[in-house]
């Protein structure tokens, strides 16, 4: 961690001391997770990685319009939680939500088509990359104004209890989000109402272009705030899908049993820029390098080999995923540009947008 203080006036952040990842914990090989589940998580991480790389390529080809925020390097978080969540649980994510949408089972073709602004997009082209939603998969939305969706996740959790179900809401957000008021309002309400909600901070060390430690009063932006709401401060290696799976199992289990909310800080790293073609030159090169060496996917690959999975099985998975991503690409590119008939629909529940008679 950096030794520079907040007021040293160093604004070329690339010159700061790199914030290095904790070393991989090999003990996590022994977490009791069935090998089938691990292979599924390997496949999911491959899908998230290959999908977003494709989305990035298509952005550079000017096919993906607008903005997009990739989770390259952060895939283990969406994967671990996605594997533990039940189909009827609720996901709430941010504009950095491709991974959280795919990890709930949404169709990659429809997601990519949305990024392209096509009629066959998952939101008919009306929401775009920052608002991915798939209610049929429990993916209740991607929210692009920092903070709001933590409060909305509470509502879904509250509703689960009122409807007498044991559904759980899981809400993902970044480290920067811990400094907005809605975070604190949401945590307090979840705690006093004992809501079945799990808040997951993906601490990728950077807000947008500012190091999180420069602008946050505590070292662990989420975990160190937990005690203010009577919660345990939980930190997990967000680059290890098995470690994430383990804390997800505990937190979701607690929520499902009616034992209340959790706040988890998953330490990870955004391997690319904040959005679009941001080259992220503001980061210390040694930091980027060290985290790339802790990339979740090669690490998981090595773990599966250690656990006796043949290399051939893993390359088959990779190739299957590559085929799916190619199919998704074709589906997306083949979609029509949305017609005028879609412009004025879906404002009201009656399907229309009339505001006068």
């Amino acid at each position: 961690m950096s030794t520079q203080t907040r007021d040293e006036g160093l604004y070329d952040y690339a010159l700061r001391e790199p914030r290095l990842p904790a070393p991989e914990n090999r003990e996590n090989d022994n977490i009791g997770i069935p090998i089938e589940a691990r292979l599924e998580m390997y496949e999911m991480q491959q899908l998230l990685r290959q999908f977003e790389k494709r989305a990035y390529d298509m952005f550079l080809q000017n096919l993906v319009k607008g903005t997009s925020h990739l989770s390259l390097g952060q895939e283990a978080v969406a994967t671990g939680f996605g594997r533990v969540m039940r189909p009827d649980d609720f996901t709430f994510a941010t504009y950095r939500g491709h991974a959280h949408t795919l990890s709930r089972g949404a169709d990659p073709g429809a997601v990519l088509a949305e990024l392209l602004g096509r009629e066959n997009g998952i939101l008919k082209g009306k929401g775009g990359s920052m608002h991915l939603t798939s209610v049929e998969h429990g993916m209740m939305g991607s929210y692009a104004i920092i903070g709001a969706h933590l409060t909305i996740a509470n509502g879904a959790a509250w509703s689960a209890r009122m409807r007498g179900t044991d559904q759980v809401a899981v809400c993902f957000f970044g480290d920067g989000t811990t400094n907005i008021g809605a975070f604190h309002e949401a945590l307090n309400l979840a705690a006093i109402w004992d809501l079945p909600v799990v808040f997951v901070c993906e601490n990728n060390l950077w807000m947008e272009y500012t190091p999180i430690d420069l602008i946050t009063a505590v070292a662990n932006p989420a975990a160190d705030r937990a005690s203010a709401y009577g919660l345990e401060g939980i930190v997990v290696d967000g680059n290890d899908a098995d470690a994430v799976y383990q804390v997800a199992t505990q937190a979701i289990g607690r929520a499902r049993r009616g034992e209340g909310p959790s706040l988890i800080e998953a330490q990870t790293y955004r391997e690319q820029g904040h959005s679009r073609a941001d080259p992220a030159k503001y980061r210390p090169p040694a930091e980027v390098q060290a985290w790339k060496e802790r990339d979740p996917i090669p690490m998981y690959h090595e773990r599966l080999l250690r656990l006796g999975v043949p290399e051939g099985d893993l390359s088959t998975i990779q190739q299957d995923v590559a085929r799916r991503v190619d199919e998704a690409t074709e589906f997306a590119k083949g979609g029509a540009v949305p017609g005028e008939q879609h412009l004025l629909t879906d404002v009201w529940a009656d399907g229309g947008s009339a505001w006068r008679n």
């Binding site: 939101l123 008919k124 009306k126 879904a156 809605a182 404002v347 399907g351 008679n357």
Partner: protein
């Protein structure tokens, strides 16, 4: 038949709907134990219990967020924001999330929420507890906006708002709370998007909302004495807006006045004036005139606040002068 105050009509309407729909819940600050700071929710927690009538912390974002999350997963919610001025604190939830999510998701989510809030001046509370914020919410695509002027309309329009599958902002006027009216027995249900001609007239149309309706009616009485026959329309819901009733009236009277409590710029009357200018220009015999609060923060002193908000005197004088 029972006589209700505007204040009691709120709880009456909520109770009617909570008895009808056992899934309906309400949350807000001081609404359960205290019965609301305006005493609009007295008795509800006794009948429906603290799980359905929930006191919250001072967390307006958490209130609207919880309402939205519950509504989009199958529970209709009434959320109270104590003073409409406080909407500014949770405007993101209202303007960006609640209003837009259905459209942004291609129609995947339905958000049956009513945001009830105490609106308007006359209480000498000053600029942060007296505003008429109907224009703040009216300008957001995806929100319906209702502002009743009578106890009966409170019950009927509240019921219609609760049953509406879309988000509704329901503005209860602080200075109408003590007004009384007989309401019929049995279920009361009105509909959104219907203005009401509350007084017929032939020389000019006065469109008013909430507290401005009784003032416009009193002004119309005085105008009658001066030989001017004014038709008064209670606009009742700003979104959806019943333009046909207004256009129909203007085609008869050929003059239009709006009486708005909101500060001047972008008040609801400006939209109506624009529609009338666009679609009924040839029906008009003179300019459309807007009578509004000046474009200032509301002052606290009794004398100053009374000067700011359109009064019966100002309405009468303006109409007389501009009709002359």
């Amino acid at each position: 038949m029972a006589e209700l105050t505007y204040r009691n009509a709120v709880a009456y309407g909520i109770a009617q709907e909570m008895r009808r729909d056992p899934s309906l819940v309400m949350l807000g600050e001081d609404i359960a134990g205290a019965g609301g700071v305006f005493k609009t929710t007295v008795g509800l927690v006794d009948e429906f219990g603290p799980d359905r009538i929930r006191d919250t912390p001072i967390s307006e974002q958490a209130i609207l967020g919880a309402a939205m999350g519950a509504a989009m997963t199958g529970i209709p919610v009434i959320a109270e924001i104590m003073f409409s001025d406080f909407i500014a604190v949770c405007f993101d939830l209202l303007a960006n999330e609640i209003a837009k999510s259905r459209y942004m998701t291609g129609g995947q989510v339905t958000i049956p929420i009513v945001v009830r809030t105490a609106n308007g001046g006359g209480s000498r509370f000053g600029a942060q507890h007296s505003q008429s914020v109907e224009n703040w919410v009216m300008m957001i695509p995806g929100l319906k906006v209702v502002a009743p002027s009578t106890p009966l309309d409170v019950v009927g329009l509240l019921a219609a708002s609760i049953r509406d599958p879309d988000p509704v902002v329901f503005l209860e006027h602080k200075s109408l709370m003590a007004d009384k009216q007989d309401v019929p027995d049995g279920e009361i249900l009105d509909k959104l998007g219907a203005a009401r001609v509350v007084r017929e007239g032939t020389d000019c149309t006065i469109a008013a909302l909430a507290l401005m309706v009784p003032r416009a009616l009193e002004a119309a009485d005085r105008l009658e004495d001066q030989g001017i026959s004014a038709e008064v329309i209670d606009v009742r819901t700003l979104v959806p807006l019943d333009t046909q009733t207004i256009l129909g009236s203007v085609s008869k009277t050929s003059r239009l006045f709006t009486v708005e409590e909101n500060p001047r710029l972008c008040g609801w009357g400006a939209e109506i004036a624009s529609i009338v200018a666009d679609e009924a220009f040839w029906d008009l015999d003179g300019p459309v005139v807007r009578i509004t609060t000046p474009h200032i923060p509301l002052p606290a002193a009794e004398a100053l606040e009374d000067m700011a908000i359109p009064s019966v005197d100002r309405i009468t004088e303006t109409v007389t002068k501009r009709m002359g």
